[in-house]
Symmetry: C2
Subunit: 644 residues, 2 copies
């Protein structure tokens, strides 16, 4: 070890990192591949990256996020603690990013989802973007002396519907062709990549190895990256793996990351972080299933527009400046090696088409996954991840927008908010006599509240009358849980005796206003889309909730707080990680890839920021559930009952 | 200088080469980029690489090609002289390869050739394979917030007939796009490469630089490589340059080179030699015209099938083994950098389509250049280079073959034969009283006879009665020019007093038989093609002679010796280097490129070696002009007159 480096020992993981002085404990954690929750990207503003210093001296910057009590126990903010000694650092449960709740998605939804959701829609036929075909070519003779490549094309044409004019071949493969055809006695397996409208022969192998054909579907989220390993010859999902997006350290939302990259000339670094995340997932999946990476021929990525830009190495700077322009929406397939994604060296990487700056490939994947583009019924797709994107439409038209919901449902900006990780309160009930019942992820002692818990909490606060419809704590509530502090009133959810950190879990007036702003953004986005089509809430026949938060929330509570319009709960369906499902459908079926492009082109993007109607709606929606209670008859009734 | 190296000083070029001991003088000449005539590729069999040793000692292997008289003057064979001393070597005129007579081709033939030759045929419209278009894109606004790439595509579509779906972009160009569009105030020049049926945007530059668009047309012959520099925005031919094919040192014909490459694991070296020849021509043209190589966007190469294989780095081994298979006939455009051809780093390289193992892209270029595929008249195209390829047909059908004429018309295997270089006898007449009149290239003292001279010589020998119709010297000819030697009879053409080497220029009985075999191969190929279509000589309406030899020969003499069938001389047209003309037409016009592919597909290749009829015809054609004189009525008449 060099003198100028220090050793940081992280517990409970027992991981040791060597790092130069002057770096922060957060930097050291990234070096050790440990994910510490740092929603603000290391600014010191979110206060989520608390760790316990067990030995060693540090220079700490004071932080209002650390109470005197915590400071005594050794709590520090990892992002604000500079290293100038060897340290032993304990990462408490609530500061860990836990991969177990990343919405990995499952296979069930593929095989039957389109039919189940939109029963009239024909399934895509199994024709993977990259296909392996076994061929026994006729041996050449003086009477049949076609050139090797033309013979190969003829063989392919006779086994498929692809004419020779639509075929091309990688020069490196062409070079090997004559020797290979002869050594294999003209019995070969051809790997055909769809580069619509053409097909490229990316490999020729001796014998029948057509079953060795794998693909990777990737959902590149702002927060998490999920990959599925697929057997392309059977459509089976073999395995799945997820990780946090390494860019998290440079900002919780993608606008922060664009700014960081622009100011620090770090566009290339951002790009490499993402490709390395993808490579890490691929290599984990390949190793765990003892496959040869050479047999992984295709990667399909679905991500929002900014993530798609970073992945491809494209500068997203103009996305955050008026008039908010992406470099490109629909990107043609590239060789994965062009962006250093490591699969078969001739393999291709496809992306799902983006619609505009704030509606990306994850959403076109979502529309594809439920075949909203073929729906008879007027449907609403709501994907609430780090952002909230909403699509309204049916087989005839599709409009979409992005709601700046902010990350409060991911726990950011909320005193006891946290990501959906072990120990997070995910379900909560407040009884009429202000008792609180809750359930945590993994049934661990509670550390904080995640999005679905926060939503239920808000609904229960209003149902139980703790807060009024403006979100303010009601006067005259008879419970010790409601108490005043220097920072205003707060409601005690869980007493410190029960919590993991031995610290009260509370919700403050400021938290409530944050959550109301977030839900108002989603509601007003929905009503602006409806308005733009001259429709109202009654027109909505189906609602599909997608994404991590969307899959765990309680629909009734979402209506109660006015995040969703007042619709029958039976119309609400949870559709999971539609981004990865759409990516998988594309991998399996070139036809689905074409449809995704049509969807990308067909969707009309409505910019909310420049929409006056939206601002009006937003203001009216900053109530529980809404300024105009008549828009929420079921809630009106419910609240009357509960207030009785 | 290292001790283990010797210095070879070549005169008259005054070029000094350092080389290790054990190498030959021929090796040293190649190292100095000096082209010494070595038709046999350094086997010592052709005896053409004579040089004069002016100082230094060497180990020479005895050669029957060096007379005692020559040995006294210091003549040695460069290929058989091993170096173990510093040497001064003089390369005499007749041993030099002279680039001045490489059929570079000219522009005249392009602009009007198709129309002049086949008047009914519409000219191709000017639409180069790689095009530069100046665009002023509308600046984006909130109401027109299309992504940068989609805006670019819309701009292209509005200026051309190319729809957005047919466009793709190089990822590196896409990366630069957002900054470039903004810094150029949305006024840009786009370089569009035709990758039929798609188009690739290979460059975007600020401002209007659409005039800076150049291309290179290359004729890759077995012996010579010719390149033309073209202004693609005007179709003007700016300059031309030629060189000898560097592979010459490994064999005069391509079969020898295939064998050399296979036996010496030298496929890659053969490939590199060719690409370096092309690079050398391109860089010479670019420098001489003070252009930026970055503005050279396209290269179109026309070559026979083996040269096309070597160029692309494809193994041509199976071309010389039954059933004679190329790796590929029609090759899709590649990025020039893929085979290390140095132009714009994103520029493309196109090849003219081959028809089969022995009829290549030079011939499809030839057919294209005279629009034989549109001819109303039944036409014959004969391209006599190192090989002789023949096409018969019209707008309805095309058949072709390769005649193994051998290289005797390039001077190989003929005592005083030489390539068409300064001092070569190119025209010759033998008077009825056996006097000889001649004209040399450059009017220099004669050094030998080139192809056109040999053909006239043979015709004149038979016209003057020196030889009979079997090719044997007639008995009882009263001239001292006809004399006997240890190796049989020979006819003195030029006395040593007049010659450059002070050595008699003669033609021997063996020479005459060699020439007869060559002309018989061409004649019997023509008649086999006619026969295969159930036609005879009378059906031929037009004959086009192409290639180096074909452009200088005397048509009447070609009929007299029976190389061409007995047709009206007025039907014979000299069309020059049709290989480069076809390549240029392709560069100028994407439509021509499509037609070339159709031609490649449309032509039926007839293999002569497996054709019994051909062998019969060949035997009958081993006479002057033919066993059956009735097939040559004009010659019968001519010879009667001359014998009178």
């Amino acid at each position: 070890m060099e003198d100028s480096h220090y050793t940081i020992h992280f517990l409970p993981n027992d991981i040791t990192v060597e790092i130069e002085p002057g770096k922060t404990v957060l930097d050291a954690s990234y070096k050790g591949d440990l994910f510490i929750n740092a929603l603000c990207g290391g600014d010191g503003t979110c206060g989520k990256c608390k760790v316990i210093l067990q030995s060693g001296k540090t220079q700490r910057r004071p932080s209002s996020h650390i109470s005197v009590e915590e400071a005594e126990k050794g709590y520090v903010l990892a992002c604000k603690t500079l290293i100038d000694d060897n340290l032993e650092v304990f990462i408490p449960e609530e500061s860990r990013l836990d991969k177990s709740r990343i919405l990995v998605g499952d296979n069930m939804l593929f095989s039957g989802s389109q039919a189940a959701i939109n029963p009239g829609v024909e399934q895509f036929k199994h024709a993977p973007l990259i296909n392996k075909i076994y061929l026994e070519l006729p041996r050449p003779t003086m009477d049949d002396n076609m050139a090797d490549y033309e013979r190969l094309c003829q063989g392919i044409s006779s086994e498929t519907t692809i004419s020779a004019e639509k075929l091309s071949i990688h020069l490196a493969v062409l070079k090997q062709l004559p020797a290979l055809l002869r050594s294999s006695d003209w019995k070969i397996t051809v790997t055909l990549a769809n580069r619509c409208p053409l097909f490229e022969i990316i490999e020729v192998q001796p014998g029948d190895v057509s079953a060795n054909n794998y693909g990777i579907a990737v959902d590149i989220g702002t927060t998490t990256v999920v990959a599925h390993l697929i057997n392309l010859s059977t459509t089976e999902t073999i395995d799945a793996e997820a990780t946090y997006n390494s860019q998290i350290k440079y900002g919780d939302d993608y606008i922060q990351r664009i700014m960081y990259a622009a100011q620090n000339n770090a566009m290339e670094m951002m790009h490499e972080m993402l490709t390395e995340d993808v490579n890490h997932l691929i290599s984990t999946l390949v190793k765990r299933n003892t496959l040869n990476i050479h047999n992984v021929n295709a990667v399909v990525c679905a991500g929002n527009t900014v993530m798609t830009h970073f992945l491809m190495g494209l500068d997203p700077t103009n996305i955050r400046k008026e008039p908010y322009l992406p470099v490109v929406n629909i990107i043609a397939p590239i060789r994965a090696s062009e962006i250093d994604v490591r699969i078969n060296s001739h393999g291709l990487l496809y992306t799902l088409p983006c619609v505009g700056a704030y509606v990306g490939g994850d959403i076109s994947a979502g529309v594809l996954s439920i075949r909203l583009d073929k729906a008879e019924a007027l449907s609403l797709l709501i994907d609430i991840g780090t952002n909230g994107e909403i699509v309204l439409g049916n087989k005839d038209w599709l409009v979409c927008c992005s709601a700046s919901a902010g990350p409060s449902f991911e726990g950011s900006g909320i005193s006891c908010g946290m990501r959906a990780a072990k120990g997070a309160i995910e379900k909560i009930t407040i009884t009429p006599d202000f008792d609180v019942m809750y359930k945590t992820i993994g049934d661990a002692p509670p550390s904080g509240i995640c999005g679905s818990g926060l939503l239920e909490c808000l609904a229960n606060l209003v149902r139980s009358g703790v807060i009024d419809r403006t979100g303010n704590f009601q006067k005259g509530i008879k419970t010790e849980r409601l108490r005043s502090t220097d920072n205003g009133q707060e409601f005690l959810l869980v007493d410190r005796k029960e919590t993991a950190k031995k610290k009260d879990i509370i919700i403050t007036q400021a938290d409530i206003q944050n959550l109301i702003r977030s839900k108002a953004a989603i509601y007003s986005a929905i009503s602006t889309l409806l308005e733009s089509m001259g429709m109202d809430v009654e027109s909505i026949e189906q609602v599909y909730l997608a994404g991590g938060f969307g899959s765990y929330l309680d629909a009734k509570s979402a209506v109660t707080i006015g995040m969703l319009p007042d619709i029958e709960i039976a119309k609400v369906h949870f559709v999971g990680n539609t981004s990865i499902i759409g990516a998988k459908m594309t991998l399996f079926s070139a036809e689905a890839h074409e449809v995704a492009k049509e969807i990308g082109t067909k969707m009309t993007y409505i910019d909310l920021m420049s929409n006056n109607k939206y601002m009006e709606e937003y203001v009216s929606a900053n109530f529980l559930p809404h300024t105009n209670i008549e828009k929420f008859p079921s809630v009106a009734e419910e609240l009357m009952v509960s207030k009785k």
